[in-house]
């Protein structure tokens, strides 16, 4: 998310674009994408048969392509799109095309500040990655999952490093997958590898690896923990350290381990772990009893459990509170510190804490309309489309990016007036 302090926080609403007009103007109008600050909205449009381009807050880019996809705004409101025409794919930032072209590009990934723009790339018959237009020197048989370092200077992707003939089950069992960082592969190879993640200092990469028929481990810079384990889930780094935390499955159950050593008790399952902003607390989704889901904080599960699902925990900025989307008996809600909201919905998006950590808001869907829910209370007005709200720096107002009667608005509303 971009630095919101510089945004316009004057309360009121602004009609940014009349989407009804867009619908009349184009053969095809695809999904809308608003900028973080809500000032701009973009979509892939088809102005003439078989030709696509972008429409940015009403301005139609004169360049036309056979395909345009993966629209994404940078925090500075530049619009990134992936394009295809004349048999080549290229990345465009606003109206500037990367000089490098490809046989396919996907997995558009940005750093938090938007300075690092990365994609997986194909140059027949090989695959790899490119960062800010710079293509890896070495390309591979396959490249999947893309991670960009926090400082925006490195990329990592899971690669198939050796060829394998059709149905050659034995070459696979020798290990032909690894991670490449900026195109340089780890020395050690594995059966399978997924979930690469960079350390906070951008110097290390951890990932899940398979090392045998029912053997899994966590590899950090290619070196595995003392194992193997029955299964592992995606690792994370502890903030400001090189310590890695990941769920591991053992004969006793699943627990979280730090650098290979269990640090929690055992559950039927555990995953989606996350550290608090101050790095002192750790929360994860856990299954304390069969088919009952909840959140555990520092190993202690909430007393309330849910039948269907619990999504990733979200910490408050002061690191003291935890909220998560929960699903029980086919209805969605948010639970905060173990207490589910009374109101249930058809869908709920990740909860967002106010800057002072006292208030929780979330976007929710009910009967085809989208609402803002504040501490469990549903807003009076519902919208056709709504994107995640943003708190003003003082926490008093909310920025809504919404479509109402076919018109896209940027609204700043005092939180007590929703």
């Amino acid at each position: 998310m971009s630095e919101s302090a510089s945004w316009n926080w004057d309360t009121g609403e602004k009609l940014v674009a009349n989407i009804n007009d867009w619908k009349k103007k184009f053969i095809d109008l695809r999904e809308l994408t608003p900028s973080d600050d809500g000032e701009k909205i973009a979509a892939v449009v088809q102005p003439e048969k078989g030709k696509f381009t972008t429409c940015l807050t009403g301005d139609v880019w004169e360049e036309k392509f056979e395909r345009v996809y993966s629209l994404k705004f940078k925090p500075d409101n530049q619009l990134i799109s992936l394009t295809y025409r004349d048999y080549v794919y290229a990345l465009a930032v606003d109206h500037e095309m990367w000089e490098e072209t490809f046989d396919f590009i996907w997995n558009l990934t940005l750093t938090q500040d938007g300075k690092g723009i990365a994609v997986n790339i194909k140059r027949d018959p090989q695959l790899g990655a490119a960062l800010n237009g710079q293509v890896w020197e070495n390309l591979y048989i396959d490249a999947r999952h893309l991670a960009v370092s926090p400082d925006g200077t490195k990329t990592a992707s899971c690669i198939q490093i050796q060829p394998m003939k059709t149905l050659d089950i034995f070459t696979y069992q020798k290990g032909i997958w690894t991670v490449a960082v900026d195109g340089t592969p780890w020395e050690k190879k594995f059966w399978s590898i997924w979930g690469p993640v960079f350390s906070p200092d951008s110097n290390h990469v951890a990932a899940c690896v398979r090392t045998g028929f029912a053997q899994y481990n966590i590899a950090v810079d290619g070196n595995t923990w003392e194992g193997p384990f029955g299964l592992v889930w995606e690792p994370i780094f502890k903030p400001n350290t090189n310590d890695v935390v990941a769920p591991i499955r053992t004969p006793k159950g699943t627990t979280l381990a730090m650098n290979g050593k269990p640090i929690w008790g055992y559950f039927f399952n555990a995953w989606r772990q996350i550290f608090s902003p101050d790095g002192q607390k750790l929360a994860a989704v856990v299954v304390p009893s069969f088919s009952r889901w909840t959140i555990a904080v520092d190993g202690t599960p909430w007393s309330t459990t849910f039948s269907d699902a619990v999504l990733s925990p979200v910490f408050s900025l002061n690191s003291k509170r935890v909220a998560a989307v929960v699903k029980d008996s086919k209805r969605w809600a948010v639970a905060v510190d173990g207490n589910p909201w009374t109101e249930k919905f058809d869908n709920v998006w990740d909860p967002i804490f106010s800057p002072d950590s006292n208030t929780v808001v979330a976007k929710a869907e009910r009967n085809g309309k989208f609402y803002i829910v504040v501490d469990g209370k549903v807003s009076k007005k519902g919208y056709e489309s709504l994107w995640n709200p943003v708190f003003s720096p003082d926490g008093k107002n909310l920025l809504l990016r919404c479509v109402d009667n076919g018109k896209y608005y940027r609204k700043v509303i005092p939180i007590n007036e929703l």
Binding site: Y69, H145, W191, S192, E365
Partner: protein, 285 residues
């Protein structure tokens, strides 16, 4: 435990060798060359010793009265002229029963025959349980023998390769992420020639339906994708396909009891569903 009721000979080579037409499969023939009794013992006991499986293994063995009612449920038995060696109870007798009796101390050749029985002479259809007066879950038992074979790599080549692919790529047929997205875009263009403005929305958040094809569809049967797109569009269904791994609903791990890959495949689909906030998952089958 069932040792009291399985007290026949436990000599390593004292077992019934089936007179079957050979099945040539590198997953059996090559893998068995690297097996030892010690490796087999370890794999078998890794499955047998799982506490939660103990009762589910032993209760059916203790309960079965060898009435053979299960035989007439089995299409293998019926289609082999009622050869009793194809009867479900016989398949349990020749595999799990022997493995428990010998505590996993069996020869590689024996294990190869076990693998042939559980992979090539039983479909785990569970019809035998419907005929069993006790409703014994024979398919569960033979499925867990498949698990023992899987841990040893003693699995038919084709299905093992597809499970390897699912493990490495979460797709059944080694499909790259780029090829998957490219194929969806290409199929949209193809269908657009027949139906105006047809779409195959990729990663559309909030769609009603997320369609998860089998890997064979983008790989070798793209016309299935075109047909699905036509049906979804003409029916007015708000649908999408996921751009990230976890779109392929083939789950070969389930068949060979590669539980870990099986779980990763299912999790991948649900992760996409929850990421995209869709309401229904529609699978090809």
């Amino acid at each position: 435990m069932a040792e009291a009721s399985v007290k026949e000979s436990t000599k390593t080579e004292d077992w019934v060798k089936l007179n079957r037409k050979p099945v040539a499969d590198p997953g059996f023939d090559e893998t068995v060359k690297n097996l030892t009794t010690e490796k087999i013992e370890k794999a078998v006991n890794a499955v047998l010793n799982i506490g939660k499986n103990g009762a589910r293994f032993m209760a059916p063995l203790e309960t079965c009265i060898h009435c053979a009612l299960c035989s007439n449920a089995c299409h293998w038995y019926l289609s082999h002229d009622k050869d009793p060696t194809y009867a479900p109870v016989a398949k349990v007798k020749m595999t799990l029963w022997e493995l428990i009796k010998r505590k996993g101390k069996v020869s590689p050749e024996f294990m190869k025959q076990v693998a042939r029985i559980v992979f090539c002479e039983c479909n785990l259809c569970r019809r035998c349980s419907m005929y069993c007066p006790f409703g014994l879950d024979i398919a569960f038992q033979l499925g867990m023998v498949r698990r023992m074979c899987f841990i040893l790599g003693l699995v038919p080549q084709n299905i093992l390769d597809q499970t390897h692919s699912l493990s490495a790529t979460l797709t059944q047929l080694w499909i790259t992420q780029g090829d998957w997205i490219d194929t969806m875009q290409w199929q949209e263009e193809e269908v657009r020639g027949e139906i105006k403005n047809v779409r195959i929305p990729i990663d559309k958040e909030g769609a009603e339906v997320m369609w998860c094809p089998l890997g064979t569809e983008p790989k070798v049967a793209t016309y299935h994708i075109a047909r699905t797109a036509k049906i979804m569009n003409v029916a007015g269904i708000d649908w999408t396909v996921a751009a990230q791994d976890g779109w392929d609903s083939a789950n070969m791990g389930m068949f060979i009891r590669d539980m870990e890959t099986m779980q990763r495949v299912v999790r991948g689909i649900y992760d996409n569903a929850m990421r995209l906030k869709i309401k229904r998952i529609v699978l090809t089958e």
